[in-house]
């Protein structure tokens, strides 16, 4: 479903991503773990065709993320780390706009926007986005990512900056999406979230892949005497990589 093959991205002399290779199967929730500045957001931007790779290839649903980025966005939903919302549009209007951008006609766009607004935003939907809390903004952006019922979801730090209640709601939403059979590529640095939600976990640091496997296997292979939390494994791998 998602194939990343020897993908690299350089900013001048700085290597942001170094020959990263990961494959995500259909219906799988892949956790993408790494410390700040490890290249998670760069990878996601490359997958969304928002950046040009220096070398390597990324494909989603068999389509090249760089050369066929427009076509694949019909099947991919994207939740950015810091979502952009028009401050003086209401959440409902914003979702109508996004539905329109995905090619839905007026009544269909309105119906989809209304359904998702009811589910994700609730009574705040008619208020301007500028009045929303950080958690509500993230929920609006997630609703926008789902408006075209995509097969693949790319979520960049969905729980970042949320209070425990909002973070719990967000995690439940992601669980529900996984149960619905969506393929989810979930970037985070919250280990507990990854442990609970993800079928497999990829750990990167300084743009390089350190490990990719199921959480239980990672704990068995890299934990002390085959046991230990994912946090221990993560820190051990980072220490081994010298970061």
């Amino acid at each position: 479903m998602i194939e990343i093959l020897a993908l690299s991205k350089h900013y001048g002399s700085k290597v942001a991503l170094d020959a990263l290779s990961i494959t995500v199967q259909g219906g799988e929730v892949m956790g993408f773990l790494g410390p700040n500045g490890s290249g998670k957001t760069t990878t996601i931007r490359l997958l969304m065709g928002l950046l040009r790779p220096t070398s390597g290839l990324a494909k989603i649903l068999g389509k090249d993320c760089h050369t066929e980025s427009v076509a694949l966005k019909r099947h991919v939903g994207y939740l950015p780390d810091e979502p952009f919302l028009y401050p003086y549009l209401s959440g409902l209007e914003f979702l109508e706009l996004v539905a329109g951008l995905h090619g839905f006609s007026g009544p269909d766009a309105r119906r989809r926007a209304h359904d998702l607004a009811e589910r994700f935003i609730g009574p705040e939907a008619p208020r301007f986005c500028m009045t929303y809390s950080h958690g509500t903004k993230k929920r609006v952006a997630l609703a926008a990512a789902l408006i075209h019922d995509p097969q693949v979801l790319i979520l960049d730090e969905p729980t970042n900056g949320l209070d425990p209640m909002a973070a719990k709601q967000m995690k439940e939403l992601v669980s529900q999406l996984a149960r619905d059979g969506k393929t989810v590529f979930l970037s985070t640095h919250l280990l507990e979230t990854t442990e609970r939600l993800c079928h497999r976990v990829a750990i990167i640091s300084s743009g390089r892949l350190l490990a990719v496997d199921e959480p239980a296997n990672l704990q068995r292979l890299h934990g002390t005497d085959g046991v230990g939390s994912l946090e221990d494994v993560f820190l051990k791998l980072l220490a081994a990589a010298g970061t």
């Binding site: 002399s13 700085k14 066929e68 966005k73 028009y86 401050p87």
Partner: protein, 711 residues
């Protein structure tokens, strides 16, 4: 790839619909009352331009032959077109890939090519003033040439079609250049774009002021090349109107169709350039510059002080630093070489002082005035250190003082040296230099004070400094011109008033900055408001005294009385609205409008009261003594009800503070009053201030001063 994207026309419809809704929502529900009024003024401004160009082209049509008229129009239209093109080139939405909106749009099934096309077409509706940038000129010409409604429609279509062409060309060139400039050099490119934009706007300014102020001179300048200009390809944009005048509607429609075809070709080309740019480096445009080049502090100096931190930030951001220094010189320089000609150089030290102070004021507008906007994300750090806010802001002021005063002094010295004919023992030279130093230093402190006063940092979606703040700054900064241009008592009174205003704005600003992060902060009447009202009254009175040649003394008295009455009513309305908490809600006059809509009998009473007041005012103002009485009311509203009351409320903790409050308000009032400086005048102000301090009522002060005048 493009086939998967939603069609351009559909994208245009979506962009137009939601952008208009967004703008309307913002205007209706957000923004301060100041921003709204600026918006209303911006809507009315083009009408003024139509009037001005109408008058200028009326002169051109009277004094010039037909080919010269056409050539004049071609030059003006090309000036406008080039400025518009450069601004589109440098400020095009499509050029920077990494903006929030572009990332939002590009993570949907929208291709860059379709987005560029959609933006070019949508600009004809969304960029309203951009689309009508030629309309004031062409509409004025079509009126002068008596082309009627058809002429107006042709002007409108020409302007809109040109706008589409310019947006398309601007985006194509921007995208094309980005593909050929390495990441590391994009900062240089951004700086060049910024300077080009400033230069084109400044050139346009000079050109427009030349045409509007001296149309005969402009015609004389164009005349030698008139036939070449009129027959050049540059005349293409004015041909529909020219052909309509000479040959009628049918040939005009052919030329308009040609313009339409040109617009289609340019839009198509833009889409091709965008398609080629997508995937060839455009995606990296907008990356933070520090991601493209390693940046390290080169060496360690002494421990970082607040002032040094400000200087380092300024110097390390090279593009901002260059733009900051270059833009004021560009603006003023082009003006000098434009309508004003070389008069400034030949005008002696006073003219040179005016130029140097203008540069310093421009620099302050671009640099320290918007400081809270630049620091909005780190302002909490400044607030969390165990140092007073006043100390932090003074550190900031010290860093900027060096640059602004330095630019003021250097440009004064350079202008005087270039102009020649000066003597080192000329006392006017040294007096003007001293004034330039004082004025430049104070304008820097004023900018930081007003930036602190206006700062609203609680809402990320709103600028820390709105247009109202900028205009207030320009008004107060403009006051110092009187000190530079006038001699004697008026100059020193102006300096005193300016210094007091700066001090009051600073003191109030520091206190206001403490609540800049609080969305529910109250809007009290502040000493800064008092100082602004005083400056407004003072400038109005002195501008009237300078004004229109040919106005009789009696007419001048009437205008002065009307001005005083307006200031009185405005001041009272301001006090009332602040007391009712309306300023905080950002809609000072809306409650008045709703009250107006409320009850029928209130409207009748209101109209009757306004008629009576106007009649009484006109009757009163015919007699100069009555004008003085109206002026006393205005002065008391400003000096006592706004200034002194706010000072007493602001400084009320100790006895010394209370004495200081009354003392400063007396000094400001003495500097700003229309009465001549004298001991009795000072005594009157002291007595009025004491009467107000004791009673907190305007009546004793107003009646006392009126009695003094009458008896």
């Amino acid at each position: 790839m493009t086939a998967a994207s939603i069609p351009s026309l559909r994208l245009v419809r979506l962009l137009v619909r939601f952008r208009l809704r967004h703008t309307w929502n913002g205007f209706r529900r957000g923004g301060s009352s100041g921003t709204k009024w600026v918006g209303v003024v911006a809507l009315l401004l083009p009408l003024t331009y139509v009037g001005l160009f109408l008058s200028a082209f009326g002169v051109v049509a009277r004094v010039a032959s037909w080919p010269v008229q056409v050539a004049t129009l071609v030059v003006v239209v090309w000036g406008l077109t080039l400025a518009s093109l450069v601004s589109k080139l440098t400020g095009g939405d499509a050029v920077v890939a990494g903006t929030g909106e572009n990332e939002f749009l590009m993570s949907r099934p929208v291709s860059l090519a379709n987005l560029v096309v959609a933006r070019a077409l949508a600009a004809s509706v969304l960029d309203f003033w951009g689309a009508l940038f030629l309309l004031p000129v062409l509409a004025a010409v079509s009126y002068v040439w008596r082309l009627g409604v058809v002429g107006f429609a042709v002007s409108l279509l020409t302007s809109v079609l040109l706008q589409v062409c310019l947006v398309a060309v601007g985006q194509s060139v921007g995208l094309g250049l980005l593909g050929r400039v390495s990441l590391a050099k994009r900062r240089v490119l951004a700086t060049i774009f910024g300077l080009l934009s400033a230069l084109s706007v400044a050139t346009l300014w000079a050109l427009a002021s030349f045409v509007l102020r001296r149309p005969e001179g402009f015609v004389r300048a164009v005349e030698p090349w008139a036939s070449q200009i009129a027959n050049s390809p540059f005349s293409l944009f004015v041909l529909p109107l020219v052909v309509l005048h000479e040959n009628g509607i049918a040939p005009c429609l052919v030329w308009l169709a040609g313009l339409l075809a040109g617009a289609v070709v340019f839009v198509w080309l833009a889409s091709r350039v965008a398609a080629a740019s997508a995937g060839r480096g455009w995606e990296d445009a907008g990356l933070p510059f520090d991601a493209t080049a390693a940046s390290f502090a080169q060496k360690r100096g002494p421990a970082l002080s607040i002032a040094r931190k400000e200087t380092l930030l300024l110097v390390r951001d090279r593009s901002r630093f260059v733009a900051l220094l270059a833009m004021p010189f560009l603006f003023v320089g082009v003006q000098v070489f434009g309508a004003a000609g070389m008069e400034v150089f030949g005008g002696g030290p006073q003219r040179a002082g005016l130029l140097a102070y203008s540069l310093a004021a421009y620099l302050a507008t671009l640099g320290p005035l918007p400081h809270m906007q630049a620091e909005r994300r780190v302002f909490w750090v400044l607030r969390s250190v165990p140092v007073s806010l006043g100390h932090i802001m003074w550190g900031k002021a010290k860093a900027w003082l060096l640059l602004i005063v330095g630019v003021g002094v250097l440009s004064f010295a350079a202008t005087v040296a270039v102009g020649g004919g000066f003597h080192l023992n000329d006392h006017v030279l040294w007096r003007t230099l001293a004034l330039v130093v004082v004025g430049s230093a104070m304008v820097c402190i004023l900018a930081i004070g007003i930036g602190c006063n206006a700062a609203e940092l609680s809402d990320e979606g709103r600028n820390a400094l709105g247009p109202a703040g900028v205009y207030v700054f320009l008004m107060v900064a403009g006051l110092f011109n009187l000190a530079l241009l006038r001699d004697g008592t008026l100059a020193w009174r102006t300096v005193a008033l300016y210094a007091a205003t700066v001090a009051l704005v600073w003191a109030t600003g520091i206190r206001r900055a403490e609540t800049a992060l609080d969305p529910g902060r109250l809007r009290p009447v502040t000493p800064s408001d008092g100082a602004m009202a005083t400056v407004l009254l003072f400038c109005g009175v002195h501008l009237i005294s300078l004004a229109p040649a040919g106005m009789s003394v009696q007419e001048s008295q009437v205008v002065r009385a009307v001005w005083a009455a307006l200031v009185s009513v405005g001041g009272l309305l301001f006090l009332w609205s602040v007391r009712r908490g309306m300023m905080r809600k950002g809609a000072m006059l809306l409650p008045l409008l709703s009250a107006w809509r409320g009850r029928g009998w209130m409207r009748v009473v209101g109209v009757a009261a306004a008629c009576v007041a106007a009649g009484v005012l006109l009757q009163l103002t015919v007699h100069p003594p009555s004008t003085a009485l109206v002026m006393v009311v205005a002065e008391e509203v400003v000096f006592r009800a706004i200034l002194q009351r706010s000072m007493q409320d602001h400084f009320h903790h100790t006895r010394n503070e209370r004495i200081l409050a009354v003392g400063v308000s007396v000094l400001v009032a003495t500097a700003a009053t229309v009465e001549a400086l004298s001991v009795p005048a000072l005594l009157t102000q002291v007595l009025a201030a004491m009467a107000f301090a004791g009673s907190r009522s305007l009546a004793p002060a107003v009646l006392g001063r009126m009695s003094w005048l009458l008896f």
